[in-house]
Structures are given as structure tokens and as C-alpha cells.
């Protein structure tokens, strides 16, 4: 108990005279703000993309693609097997007792990014009659839905924001002429929002796609997945991969983003090393500036440990303050900004998880940078420190 009290007293004393060391302390704060600001700003791209993918998945939906296909684009599901998949056990039915299943195709068409006029691809997805029933987040926000059987398209607000020529009323060059964009939709900031959508059968004719790319079904309940998967994989007439939609997108987003994250961490670590040296420097200076004060405390009977702890806590406090400032700057500059990487449109995100990560980094740097100075502070002989000028 006395130990805790001692620690508290020494720390309070310590924090009280922090203003006297304002400029030195700023080194740690600014250094950590730079480290965490850069780290979080870079990771916000990854986080945003992950988030968009994870939002697209729904544990109550399953996706069926051809065996060993790891993306929809390279998968083929023939018209002949589609009914077998849709009638499998575990698929939910609508009020007309029709399976809630969407036979989809996914093709890419060329487009130009608005920000730099660079040539990109845009995903063009086919919706069957149950396409919107399957996805409760899907909402038309401007214009209207395409008519089934018509050569019409609707564009996600993300696609419309990032790529040129996708506003309601614009016309998109398709293999059989130009199709009008008749509506804009949102779907809860998921990856679908960066795509454009038309009627599956009409699209298949236009793009000469003889078969579907995937079938997405609504399960009667998330727990019905295993029965559904078993029924399809046990059927010798089918050669398909069945995945819960959440797992499917988790896998895709994991493949996608690891490398950029590694670059972000590498840059973060380099910067953190710089900040660490700065922290060491500042804390050594702080300890030597407070030499007599510390010695006086020791002479009054305060232990070495509370003194060491107070030095550490000071480093942690300054470092975490810096991290929070860095995170705040990154949040103001980047959070919620729409961006696109390759074919994906998403919103940069400084999530609470990322801020937490920034704080953990700050604590690690502070502990590493405060350890040696705190030991020095604790071990300096009292008499010598009192004599020193």
C-alpha cells in the first residue's frame, strides 16, 4: 500500500513539473504522433478494404462456385446444375415458395478513374430476379431499378464516385451497343457498392457468357450451412466449392491486403526506431535535469522503485498523448474518404482497433525508451546527485 502511495506521490510530483520540460517532452509527443499518424494512415487503406469485404459477407448466405475456384470470375456454374444447387436442403424460400438464390455473373469492363483519368476495370455483376431480395442492404437511391430483360444498368454510389461516366443518364459501352445507367444504389458501403449491376440473363447474352459464375443462396438459418454444403459436395453430379459468404470474403480480403500492410508496418517500425532514440534521449535528459529532485525524494525515504516507475509512466504518458494526436490527425485527414485500389472501391477507415494498435505501439516504444533512463534514475547514488550542479 505504501509502495502504491509512494508511486502515486512521485508521479504526481513528476507530472506537475512536466510544463517546465515542455519542449523536451514535445519531442516524444511529436515523434510518436508521426509514427502513429503514418502507420494508421497507411493501414486505413487496408482496414477500409477489409471492412468493405467483410460487410459484403453475411453468415446467412452461402456462395457456390466451381471446384477449386478462388474467385467468382474464374468460376463456371452451368445452367444445367443451377436448379440442383437451388433445390438443395437449407436454402430459404420466398412467399411464392421459390428458393432465394441468385444466379450471378461477374465480368469486368474498362473504365476510367475520375481522380487521375487512369484506365481501370469495373466489376459488372448480374442480378437474377432474387438479387435484391437476397441482399437486404441493397437500396436504390436515385433513378430506378433496371427492368429485368432490359439492356439497362444501375451503378453503385462507390462506382459512380470513383469512375467516370456512371451517373444516372450516362451510357456505358457494352458488347452490343450502349446501355443507359437508370439508377444508383447503395448497399451499406460494402464491396458491391463499387460495382455496376444489370440483369443476369441479358448480360450473359450480351457478354457471350454461356454459364453463371456463381450462385449465392440465402440459408434458412446460418446453422443450415453444413447441411447445405454436405448435400452439394456429396452430389456426384456437381463439382463445386461451397463457402459461407463471410468466409469467402474473409479469404479474398486476406489475400489482397497482406502486402500493403507489411509495407505499412515496415515504414512504421523504421519511424518507431527513430522515435525510440528520441524518447531515450529525452528521458535521459529529463532524468539528469531532475537529478537533485529525485535525490531529494530518495533522501526523504522514497524507494528506488517508485522513482523508476514514475520515469516510465512519464514516457508512457507522453508517448500515448503523441499516439492519440497522430491518430486524430490521421482520422481527420482520412477516415471515411472514398478511395479505390484496382477494381475495389471502399472507404478509408481509422477504426477503434487501429487506434488501439497505435496506443500499443506507443506504449511499447515508451517502455523501451524509458527503461534505461528509469534504471539510471533509480540507481544514481543520492549523495552524488545532491552534490551535482
Amino acid at each position: 500500500m505504501t509502495l502504491l502511495r509512494q508511486i502515486a506521490i512521485v508521479c504526481v510530483l513528476n507530472f506537475r513539473n512536466l510544463p517546465a520540460r515542455f519542449w523536451q517532452s514535445l519531442v516524444i509527443v511529436a515523434g510518436m504522433a508521426c509514427v502513429v499518424g503514418v502507420l494508421l494512415a497507411m493501414l486505413s487503406l487496408n482496414e477500409g478494404m477489409h471492412r468493405a469485404y467483410l460487410l459484403t459477407g453475411d453468415p446467412g448466405r452461402a456462395i457456390v462456385v466451381s471446384a477449386a475456384a478462388d474467385s467468382e470470375s474464374i468460376s463456371t456454374i452451368t445452367r444445367a446444375v443451377a436448379p440442383i444447387i437451388e433445390s438443395a436442403p437449407g436454402v430459404a424460400k420466398d412467399v411464392h415458395n421459390r428458393p432465394i438464390a441468385d444466379r450471378g455473373i461477374l465480368v469486368s469492363i474498362p473504365g476510367y478513374r475520375k481522380s487521375d483519368h487512369s484506365m481501370r476495370s469495373i466489376f459488372l455483376r448480374g442480378f437474377g430476379p432474387e438479387g435484391s431480395a437476397l441482399r437486404p442492404d441493397f437500396k436504390i437511391v436515385a433513378g430506378r431499378m433496371f427492368r429485368s430483360g432490359s439492356r439497362e444498368l444501375i451503378a453503385g454510389t462507390g462506382a459512380e464516385g470513383q469512375f467516370a461516366g456512371l451517373e444516372v443518364g450516362d451510357r456505358v459501352i457494352m458488347p452490343d451497343g450502349e446501355w443507359p445507367v437508370v439508377g444508383a444504389f447503395t448497399s451499406g458501403r460494402d464491396i458491391l457498392e463499387g460495382e455496376i449491376i444489370g440483369d443476369t440473363d441479358t448480360l450473359m447474352t450480351a457478354t457471350r457468357h454461356p454459364s453463371y459464375n456463381s450462385i449465392i443462396v440465402r440459408l434458412t438459418s446460418p446453422s443450415a450451412f453444413d447441411a447445405f454444403k454436405r448435400a452439394l459436395t456429396a452430389n456426384p453430379a456437381l463439382s463445386v466449392t461451397v463457402e459461407r459468404q463471410t468466409d469467402w470474403y474473409r479469404k479474398i480480403s486476406a489475400d489482397f491486403s497482406t502486402f500493403f500492410a507489411e509495407v505499412a508496418y515496415a515504414v512504421g517500425i523504421i519511424l518507431a526506431c527513430g522515435a525510440l532514440f528520441g524518447c531515450l534521449n529525452t528521458m535521459y535528459a529529463a532524468v539528469s535535469a531532475r537529478g537533485r529532485e529525485i535525490a531529494t525524494l530518495r533522501a526523504l525515504g522514497y524507494g528506488a522503485f517508485p522513482v523508476a516507475v514514475s520515469v516510465m509512466l512519464e514516457a508512457v504518458l507522453l508517448s500515448v498523448t503523441g499516439a492519440l494526436i497522430g491518430a486524430a490527425i490521421a482520422w481527420v485527414l482520412y477516415d471515411g474518404q472514398q478511395d479505390s485500389l484496382g477494381i475495389n472501391v471502399f472507404y478509408l477507415s481509422i477504426s477503434p482497433g487501429l487506434v488501439e494498435l497505435g496506443i500499443v505501439w506507443a506504449i511499447v516504444v515508451a517502455v523501451a525508451g524509458g527503461l534505461l533512463p528509469s534504471i539510471r534514475a533509480a540507481r544514481r547514488p543520492v549523495a552524488e546527485a545532491l552534490r551535482a550542479t
Partner: protein
């Protein structure tokens, strides 16, 4: 120069302090060096890609009939053409993406800048199931000439019903500077005859060289227009247009590298400014002594300035040297398929480092 001992003594009085300052400056400049280098590399690639090379892709996926090659070759302004087949898949592990590009006999002429000898081109023409593998790819996959190389390509059926594409590596060839991920070059005829009968006679895309690079965009446009209402609409663009807007999948390399560098510089600015302020604070009496024995105000200021400049300049030099060393390692540690160019440790880096150090020193004064 005669004041050097004074500066040196001042620095060496607190060696730990001086070394720590030097270390953080070094690290920050290493980062700045890497970032500027990376940016320069991307700029250089954008310059290196050819303005006269045109790609003709199927606009909506699928393939283009080989017969189109003859029509396109007859287009005004087209000098050379090659039909290309592509097989994409992975090697051993799903994460190990591989693309094999199969060029026909015209490929040698549409890739004149590639460091591939006529003998090597002949090798791949004469050995149908063989490939040329660039050094970067060979190193990454631990392959040498004579090895076999099997690509599993789930989306590329073969006539024999399998999806395994096996190749013999004929030679390991030099890397093309603008082709930062290396290349694996195969034989188009082998590709074509390996596909299921229904899919034979098609190319994945065509690549051409225009007779005149300034007219290339117009030629590309004309080709695109002439197929606009055909059963096979195409997307036709020059290599330069294809690279516009950065290469790293749409990442704005210039902005990212600039912002990271800025953060690094801000950090050392605070650090160095503080370290010098601290050393001045601690030595008021010493400066007073110097003045008493006849040092002018100016001279004392200069001494302090030099003291601050020493670790900054040394740190900048060390940091840039470290960055240069690291830069050489970048392509080797990148995962396959990414193709990040080695940061070119261009003069820009050295100039920036010098400018950074000077500016830093300026603010301290």
C-alpha cells in the same frame, strides 16, 4: 577548421546523447531516402514504358481470333505485331501467383528492348514446351536452366483434360527494367495447341509496335473504333496510357512517399532542435567563459550551429547510404506478383538528403 576540436569536445562530452541523436537522424533519413527512391523508380518506369507499343485486348474478356492479327497488321501505322497467349495460375502454393506469357514469332520484334539474345528467342521457338525465365523470377522460385516448372492453372483447361501446365526452363534471361516483376516467356504455338480444340486459334491479346510513336495513340484509337461494332470489340491503348496514374494498383505513390518523408522529417526536426536547445541550456557558463576570453557572439553562435549540423549531416549521409543498401534488397523480399521496383537511389535522394540537412540546420540556427 581550428574550432573543430571545440565542436568535437562538445559532442563527445555526452557520447550517448550524440549517438542517440545521430541514430534517429540516420533512421529518419534512411526512410526519406527509401521513399524518394521509390518514387523516382516509379517515375523512371513511367518514362521507360514505350510510347509506341500498343496493346489490343478483348474489351469484355474472352479471347481474340488469330485472324484479327492479319487485319490489324494491315492497319495504317502498325509496324510489328505479335499474338500473345496468357496462362495465369500458381506455382506450388495458391499464394504464389504465376503468369506465363506465350508470344508467337512476332514477339521478338515487338520486344526489341528486352535483354534476350537471338539464340534465346530461337530456343523458345524451337522448344515448344520450354520457357525463358527472367532472373528475378528464377531467383524467387529457385530455378535454373534445365529445371521443370509446373503451373497449376484452375481457369485454363488443356486439351488433355488437366489444368497442369508443365514447362522446361530453357534459359534464365535478363530482366527488362520496366517489367519489375520479371517475366516467363513461352511458345505461343504450344499454348494454342494445348488448349481444348474449341478454344484453339485464339490469342489472349495482341501487342504491336507503331511505326511512329507520336501517332501511336491515334493508331490505337483507330483500331478500337474499327472493331467497335464487331463480334469482338477491343480495348486498344498504348503502353504509356496503360501506365498512366501510377503502377502499384492505383496507389498514389508520389503522395504516399511524400507524406511519409514529411513525417520523418518533422520528427527529426523536433528531435534535433531539442537536442541543441538542451545542450545550449546546459552550457550557459561555458559560453560565458568563451566570450570572456574573446569569442564574439557570432563565433559562439557558429559553434553551436556546427555542433547541431554535425549529427544532422552525418545522419543524412549514413541514412542515405543505408537506404541504398536496403534498396537493392527490395525486389527480393517482395512477394511474387507485386513487382515493386527497387528504389532507384537516384541523385534526387542525395540532393534531397543534402537539402534536408541544410534546412534542418537552418532552422536550428
Amino acid at each position: 577548421m581550428k574550432y573543430f576540436p571545440l565542436v568535437w569536445t562538445a559532442l563527445s562530452r555526452k557520447p550517448a546523447h550524440a549517438i542517440l541523436t545521430l541514430s534517429s537522424v540516420t533512421i529518419a533519413f534512411m526512410l526519406v531516402g527509401l521513399m524518394i527512391g521509390l518514387n523516382t523508380s516509379f517515375e523512371r518506369i513511367t518514362e521507360l514504358v514505350r510510347a509506341d507499343r500498343i496493346f489490343v485486348d478483348p474489351r469484355f474478356g474472352g479471347a481474340l481470333p488469330l485472324a484479327m492479327a492479319r487485319q490489324i497488321a494491315g492497319h495504317d501505322g502498325v509496324a510489328r505485331i505479335a499474338a500473345i497467349g496468357v496462362v495465369g495460375g500458381y506455382y506450388q502454393d495458391q499464394k504464389n501467383n504465376v503468369f506465363v506469357i506465350f508470344g508467337d514469332t512476332g514477339r521478338q520484334r515487338t520486344r526489341p528492348e528486352w535483354p534476350v539474345t537471338p539464340q534465346q528467342w530461337k530456343l523458345v521457338r524451337d522448344n515448344r514446351a520450354g520457357v525463358l525465365m527472367s532472373r528475378l523470377q528464377a531467383e524467387r522460385r529457385h530455378k535454373k536452366a534445365g529445371d521443370t516448372f509446373v503451373v497449376r492453372a484452375p481457369a485454363f483447361d488443356k486439351a488433355d483434360g488437366t489444368r497442369f501446365w508443365a514447362f522446361k526452363i530453357l534459359a534464365v534471361t535478363g530482366d527488362a527494367p520496366a517489367w519489375t516483376d520479371g517475366y516467363i516467356e513461352g511458345n505461343f504455338d504450344y499454348y494454342d495447341k494445348s488448349r481444348p480444340p474449341a478454344e484453339q486459334g485464339n490469342a489472349s491479346y495482341f501487342e504491336l509496335l507503331a511505326a511512329n510513336s507520336s501517332r501511336a495513340p491515334a493508331v490505337a484509337h483507330a483500331i478500337e473504333r474499327s472493331y467497335a461494332n464487331s463480334p469482338t470489340p477491343v480495348l486498344s491503348f498504348t503502353e504509356k496510357e496503360g501506365f498512366a496514374g501510377g503502377t502499384a494498383g492505383g496507389l498514389d505513390v508520389a503522395t504516399i512517399t511524400r507524406e511519409i518523408s514529411l513525417a520523418g522529417l518533422v520528427m527529426i526536426l523536433f528531435l534535433t532542435a531539442n537536442s541543441i536547445a538542451q545542450s545550449v541550456r546546459e552550457r550557459f557558463t561555458e559560453f560565458a567563459t568563451l566570450k570572456t576570453i574573446g569569442f564574439t557572439d557570432r563565433l559562439v553562435t557558429w559553434l553551436v550551429f556546427l555542433e547541431a549540423a554535425a549529427p544532422s549531416v552525418a545522419g543524412a549521409a549514413l541514412g542515405v547510404a543505408l537506404a541504398a543498401g536496403l534498396a537493392a534488397q527490395v525486389p527480393r523480399i517482395c512477394p511474387p506478383g507485386w513487382g515493386l521496383p527497387a528504389p532507384a537511389m537516384a541523385p534526387a535522394v542525395y540532393i534531397a538528403a543534402a537539402a534536408g540537412a541544410v534546412r534542418l540546420v537552418g532552422t536550428l540556427k
